[in-house]
Point group: C2
């Protein structure tokens, strides 16, 4: 239809191939690579990243984007073609603002920060991590300076993960969430024995856990033609193509919940990538719109569906068939309650549904203060421990289960954490809307009939990929902007049903 | 030491990363990729190949090579630096002689030829394959024209797989081999029941076959830190790095020999790549010197070692421990004899040690005639069947087990087949030399002490990688140029020992 457009698309196709190859290199490294391949793998990953960056930031792409303005204007804004040009222009302009030397320093500092963090956590020694963390933050400050138009520094960080979202918006949402959650947490703390999670504890052989996960995921469309499920240390989902989705999970033989909800979580991510329109394949639009929207899918499958009464009507017989002995004397209601145990804990990735967002909010508050200059990096452990006490009522015995627990800051990922909680919030909005739009949704879940849910999500969210901004996409999927009320109502209802009425 | 050299090496390092990434994409596709990933995988592979070609044939690389002439001359020719410059210059000049349009047509025709071959073989219909094959051959003729300096067209084809080797040399070696083998084959045909291979037939569960292969490979250095062994349809070995070696094998539950010797064969390839000096990592010298030399290693492990009496002194107890029932009443001598059954057959990849090279020689003769213009592509089936009758005494019932059996011509690989037989020949030369250089080699094999063999091969062959030409490397490893006599002696001795004296 337009030779210049075809040329742009071909170029972007090659760049996208490199993006997906980078994912495959990472997937391989985390699942099947012999450890001896690690050193050369770092070089291979760096080469792919460098080529991608060089190819994308080329002046030729800039010229094509200029030449395609008239073509873009002649098309509906929601056409694939106009969207590809528009989003690519945004990305290109942004990438051009960052000097290559800075981008390369950021990449190097990320690698070194990861190593320093790994060692510091193993040695439970924050001081060992401090210099690398200071470097990461200093480089990120210089990164922020590339975007003088932002209202406050943190906005530039957020934009990488959630385009267009501001710190002010997050601050407002999180203030409401924090105020809503803290009394619920106190209520739970006052009734520590109301819910018994012992059915999820015991001995569950890894092979059987895998069988159970795959059996359950099949109801969502998992099949060996287009999916994989592999064990790994830090679970993630990778899409190598919309028809090549690779989930990973972690098995704890003493704790069935780990893989059971981990695989559902990654399945949510996988379904999002799988559901992107095949018309967008091999373009930069062929991925989820933002990290929050991605997390809305994983959290919906893990929590709103996976920890619901209706889901366990469906899943209980399957659970029993895979683990007949372990659940011989455990009824459906006990399983439902056991997967909904709420209990403040120190480690974010092991946090329950209720306390999870508080772990995120404290990280957001700390990051904000770091970038607004009101917090020194060396004061992090002290501030961390005080917030854990304030929000969760817990003492932090040592930094390895405190400020050193997450890899993100070592990796140089700043502005990333908020998307975890925002996704959880958006999940509740989408779920409410879905419920309002068709009756009997819960009955269908109880019968294991998930096609309507999946079709709805494909139609309202997945198929769009990254055609629209995150905010536009949230409107399309959730019917309105980010709103914490449905999420707070949902949690309040659940806490009351499990832990009794609030005082 | 030299900034320009460092720059060249950095560029070549990136290109080499892409080469290895291509291998990983292929390995992934052949072992773990969900089939749904296939369509996009073709694009990803094409992108990597195109980038590699563009980056390597750039004028910058040409200029660097020119500027480095004085540096190269100042160094010993066998230094890593001089070798890298020299070999890269050879590759670069060669690549620049092929117009990009032709290179791209060859790549496309290869993909289309593969599809046509696959369908034609499934339908047992040579006519369906004919047009694609004619295109492949016509394009290869145009490729040959890029190298007007060759004595005969086939030399240009051979050079891609075995640099510097001529059709005249192969013709002379193969004539001797054919004349030496044909009487041995007749002898075997006259004693069809002399060797019983029934011990290798029966029921051997795949998991146990894998256990046996891994158990045996461990004695050669296979370990999970740097190696993998996965099932696949068409086995191969891939090195993603010298410390990341991936073997594949095929399991036939009714035939133990398939995986047993297949995995030993691929282990030979893997050890060669694993043994390349780590100083050559991430350079184009970091691979085996040629396909013949590579095949010399795989064939040595599969046949000279794997089918020897001494190997089965070592391996028999391990075989018994993995398959106690299957080998309860089979002694060591019977196992040895069963893995050495010789019997002319139609399919190359299933051929025994004796007849294998005849399968290769007939393919070489056909390819020669095609490129010398004395054979029409449409006459291939007739010529094929006549040669099978002449060399192996067999009738070809249909083309799917005749001229259509191999993928190579569909892929556009012409000039490739000879390396299979040449490797087998070189293996005997190396083995004889190794035996002459240290006594007790066979005793060590019988005791499962393979370190001396492996160290010798690393020292005389593996570590050099591609620093020298194939001919130079053959001199280093075999002590002389390609010579079929050790190979013919070896086979003659074996045939006599198993099938009785020649008449």
């Amino acid at each position: 239809m337009n030779a210049k457009y075809d040329e742009l698309r071909e170029r972007l196709g090659e760049i996208h191939d490199l993006t997906k190859i980078g994912w495959l290199l990472n997937w391989d490294q985390s699942t099947v690579m012999p450890p001896g391949g690690g050193r050369v793998r770092s070089d291979q990953l760096a080469t792919v990243a460098r080529l991608r960056h060089t190819m994308f930031t080329s002046d030729e792409i800039g010229s094509m984007l200029e030449e395609l303005r008239a073509f873009e204007d002649s098309l509906p804004a929601d056409s694939n073609e106009a969207s590809l040009i528009r989003i690519t222009r945004y990305d290109w302009n942004k990438a051009k603002k960052v000097p290559i030397a800075l981008a390369s320093n950021l990449a190097r500092a990320s690698g070194e920060g990861y190593q320093a963090w790994k060692s510091a956590r193993a040695n439970n020694n924050f001081a060992e991590f401090l210099p690398a963390l200071e470097t990461n933050i200093e480089l990120r400050r210089r990164y922020v300076e590339c975007f003088p138009e932002v209202a406050e520094p943190y906005d530039a960080l957020l934009d990488d993960f959630e385009q267009g979202l501001t710190a002010a918006e997050v601050r407002s949402v999180f203030a409401r969430v924090r105020d809503g959650l803290v009394p619920l947490v106190r209520h739970v703390l006052n009734h520590p024995d109301a819910v018994d999670d012992s059915p999820m504890r015991g001995h569950f052989p890894e092979n059987d856990q895998r069988t159970l996960s795959v059996e359950l995921l099949r109801y969502w469309g998992f099949n060996e033609e287009e999916w994989r499920l592999d064990p790994t240390a830090h679970p993630f989902a990778a899409s190598i193509a919309t028809s090549d989705i690779r989930l990973t999970t972690r098995y704890d033989q003493a704790n069935l919940a780990m893989s059971l909800f981990g695989s559902l979580h990654e399945c949510g991510h996988g379904l999002y990538e799988h559901g992107v329109s095949s018309e967008l394949e091999r373009t930069p639009l062929c991925r989820g719109s933002s990290l929050s929207l991605h997390e809305s899918q994983s959290r919906m499958f893990e929590n709103l569906i996976g920890r619901s009464r209706e889901y366990w009507i469906f899943a209980y017989p399957i659970l029993r068939s895979v683990f007949p002995e372990q659940f011989a004397n455990v009824d459906e209601e006990s399983v439902y309650r056991s997967v909904n145990k709420m209990e403040p804990s120190l480690i974010r990735v092991e946090a329950d549904e209720l306390t999870y967002s508080l772990h995120i909010i404290l990280r957001f508050e700390i990051e904000l203060d770091l970038f607004n200059g009101t917090l020194k990096v060396s004061d992090l452990p002290e501030v961390w421990n005080a917030k854990i006490q304030e929000y969760l009522g817990l003492d932090v015995p040592s930094d390895d289960v405190g400020v050193l627990q997450d890899v993100h800051w070592g990796d140089g990922l700043l502005g990333y954490f908020p998307t975890y909680a925002l996704g959880t919030i958006i999940a509740s909005q989408i779920w409410n809307r879905m419920n309002a739009e068709f009756t009997g949704l819960n009955d269908q879940v109880a019968r294991g009939q998930f096609d309507p849910v999946r079709s709805w999500l494909v139609e309202h969210l997945h198929r769009h990929g990254r055609k629209f901004t995150p905010k536009e996409t949230i409107l399309l999927a959730a019917g309105g902007p980010i709103d914490p009320e449905p999420y707070l109502h949902y949690l309040s209802d659940k806490v009351i049903s499990l832990y009794g009425p609030l005082n």
